[in-house]
Subunit: 377 residues, 2 copies
């Protein structure tokens, strides 16, 4: 790579690391000579796409030459009915990633404002803050990955424009009831917006106790982010949304690229909201799988962290990297948490029943091989 | 809308106008009691989506629960083969809108750099510049909507980070041979990047004479933008890309949101690149329709501007707004150019043969009604 044009790149951007992509399913098949690969790495819906949504995508394939509708009014209306909130509070984005970026661009002053979050947290909060020229502050999670509110509050000053929370949290699965968040919100300065990323909230139970949607409706500076990528099975179509205070929704809409939500995401999102049975089946599967995997991992001596999400974080007795690699050779992809700064931790997405059993059987085999090896050395 | 939280909104953003959406096809049907509406307003492909691409979308509907591949390597590879360029120079985006935004964010210094373009130009150049806190400079187009190079050059100084050109231009349809662009580029400071938006280049002939792809490959600071929205019939799926100098492609990739291109856009884009017959049929249709509409509009006394794109700009003898409205009541949507500052101009996208005839018949009827009315008053 030539260096001679670096003066054309903003200094904030020069600090971004080169892009590196992990192996995809097909590449892993090739590399290890496998016919089948199970992906339990990205917290996707183990049931795939709802059959009724697939049907809607197929039916609308011929519409892909049309520009989408700029304001996604129909979709915002349907989301409003689903959540029982005024649709003018809702803005959809090309995944909630876009909404996070827009929140920063609309509210935070480059070189002046700062942004706060726990450590570790979703990488996009930090990356987009840096791209926006904003100081990004982090305070470590508490013991057992709980939320150390005082630590987080200690970062906040009058220039803190946004505090990001993920609830349930990723990668730990830890969640707090919304009343704890409300208490924290009450201590924030008037100039700070609290953003609660509820990507995994559909898997928390009881959801009413954990979700901060009601808090968003009764306060002035709370934003709730949701996604169609997990429970709704639409990660590939990129559809997320925020529930905003009215004034903020208005400005987010003003600056959003008009066609950022693609036309099939809009159609699929509408259909996915209608399909209650798919969501109930997904939830049953996730709750059952979460219990099963939690029990089995504990029985294997792994430290298992309680999860309110569609994944489980655990700490094996053996080396996490070795386990990840050995699972790969058996065609199972899970998520090592090195990039979160959690060297010895692994995260496994809840799969379908068959996938969960295959994962457990494979992990048992790997651990017993390893313990025989350790014993003989 | 409450005003009391405006101190939470960046001053640049407070200047953005409230979002307002035009009527969609279904709303126009309802409003005017129509069964059919012809849309010739957004320069979409009059043949719709290629049948082979529709088939690929249907086949991959079940994949919509998977996250897309972060780097779009396969798609960049296919585009590279299609254009005969190194795929490492290519970055795909959620429409070329995203690429325009990324170019500004990666290279231009908020509060310091400025951006230059002709006036009128594609609104996104200006909107994203303002959102990035950049001064946006414009110099008027020359006579007959030609490119007044000296005027544009007069805006440029050492702090001009990007000059945007659209070739063929929108909404005029005017185009310049690439050698003229090369001459202009040679006069730019070393610190200025020239971005040539070739959204409509596939309709220019001969394309080799107009496209600046070769210029991009042999220079250090030329970027060419392309889209799958027009010739490739995929406006709704949002797929654009840029051809960059290598160093710039690398940094654009570093900051791009990893999943901004959705999974069906990627699959459909790959299939669209394969479908030569669809593109040739589209081109034949557009060239035939452009000649036909140009002749008919001239015969009706409209001033017609020569176009190298899939639309025609014209200036009717009667009031443009009145014609636009009367066409709407007959179920034909075209584009008034008021928002471009061109009060008395209209733009019509080339439709299929039937649509073009219906448009001509309706416009004739409107003009003769009006001339009878004028005559009697």
């Amino acid at each position: 790579m030539n260096n001679f044009r670096h003066e054309l790149i903003r200094s904030e951007v020069l600090e971004f690391k080169p892009y590196s992509s992990g192996l995809g399913i097909d590449e892993i098949k090739d590399k290890y000579g496998l016919n089948q690969v199970i992906k339990m790495a990205s917290n996707e819906n183990p049931l795939g796409v709802s059959p009724s949504v697939q049907e809607v995508i197929r039916k609308n394939a011929s519409l892909a030459f049309r520009y989408p509708t700029p304001g996604n009014q129909e979709l915002c209306g349907a989301i409003g009915r689903y959540l029982d909130i005024d649709p003018r509070r809702i803005v959809c984005g090309n995944g909630s990633d876009e909404i996070i970026d827009l929140l920063l661009r609309v509210t935070a002053e480059p070189g002046i404002s700062n942004i706060a979050a726990f450590k570790p947290c979703f990488s996009i909060y930090q990356l987009q803050s840096r791209l926006c020229g904003l100081e990004f502050r982090q305070s470590p999670l508490g013991s057992e990955f709980s939320f150390d509110w005082n630590g987080l509050l200690g970062l906040v000053d009058e220039q803190t424009r946004i505090v990001f929370l993920t609830n349930p949290d990723n990668p730990s699965g830890f969640a707090v009831p919304s009343r704890e968040i409300e208490k924290f919100y009450s201590k924030l300065p008037e100039s700070t917006i609290l953003v609660i990323d509820e990507a995994y909230i559909d898997f928390a139970s009881p959801v009413e106790q954990y979700s901060s949607l009601k808090l968003a409706l009764k306060t002035e500076r709370v934003v709730v982010l949701r996604t169609f990528s997990k429970m709704f099975g639409l990660a590939g179509l990129r559809l997320g949304f925020g529930v905003f205070p009215m004034f903020l929704a208005d400005y987010i809409r003003r600056v959003r690229l008009p066609f950022s939500v693609n036309i099939l995401a809009e159609k699929a999102g509408l259909a996915a909201l209608e399909d209650l049975i798919f969501r109930q089946t997904t939830l049953d599967l996730i709750l059952r799988g979460r219990d099963y995997l939690g029990d089995e991992l504990s029985a294997m001596g792994c430290r298992v962290y309680p999860s309110q999400a569609n994944f489980i974080m655990f700490r094996p007795l053996e080396d996490a990297e070795m386990i990840f690699e050995k699972l790969l050779t058996r065609g199972i992809i899970i998520r090592p948490l090195k990039s979160y700064g959690l060297q010895n931790f692994l995260r496994v997405s809840i799969g379908n029943d068959q996938e969960n059993r295959t994962f457990v059987t494979s992990l048992k085999a790997i651990l017993s091989e390893q313990s025989a090896f350790d014993h003989n050395n």
